[in-house]
Assembly symmetry: C2
Homo-oligomer: 137 residues x 2
């Protein structure tokens, strides 16, 4: 069995928040919208149905927790949850906090404009707030 | 408690496939991409975390079954799974079969161009195939 390696594009475009086995939680480095990625720490997962049943159950639970947390933290209007993977095939679930004044509301975030990287201070503060909101901080 | 009513935009843009309690399964009337919607048959659900735990478990199971079925049926390159709801707030999960030659590959389907309605024959044949693939036909 192949070892897990994070896709290089995901690695370049996002920052590690924490590992919540069986997943790695990452923050997309784009200050336009608070945007998390959930990546299974296992090689060979592309489709939702490639997840094992325990992984799918853990994902369902994590979506609930992250969605509640991110919505409260950012006073978001709506949480967007999606697993697309047309470009990067390694399974990664997007959880994005959307605000009515954000850059492309109510359109989707994917493929829209250019990412606006966080300052180190801003990404660290957001990661800390997410961990505290999940009671992991 | 309010009674369930299907959002009028969802009702206008999609066709009933079947009810798989606690969900209604619908086919988006857009022949550009095989596109299903899963709608909880309950008023007041907007966010993923508004689902009860049994509903979330049933949704996780249904995603797996529909994803496998739709991928096999359409020889899709990738299945896209998403709950956005920025425009229509009633919770609806999208399950879309994507092909490398489709109208907006690898970009998202939302907000792209104009829907191309199915003929009655074509939507009926696809609905029948989906039901048979799910062993419901």
């Amino acid at each position: 069995m192949a070892n897990f390696e994070l896709d290089p594009k995901i690695a370049a475009d996002s920052l590690l928040v924490c590992r919540l086995k069986p997943f790695e939680l990452r923050l997309v480095n784009d200050a336009r919208w608070p945007w998390l990625l959930v990546v299974p720490i296992r090689a060979g997962v592309e489709e939702w149905h490639d997840l094992t049943e325990p992984e799918a159950d853990a994902l369902s639970d994590l979506i609930r927790r992250l969605s509640i947390n991110l919505k409260a933290l950012t006073a978001a209007e709506k949480i967007n949850v999606a697993a697309l993977g047309n470009i990067v095939r390694q399974f990664h679930l997007h959880i994005v906090a959307r605000r009515t004044e954000d850059a492309n509301w109510p359109g989707p975030v994917w493929g829209f404009g250019k990412p606006l990287p966080y300052s180190n201070e801003a990404s660290e503060a957001l990661i800390r707030a997410i961990l505290e909101g999940m009671e992991l901080g």
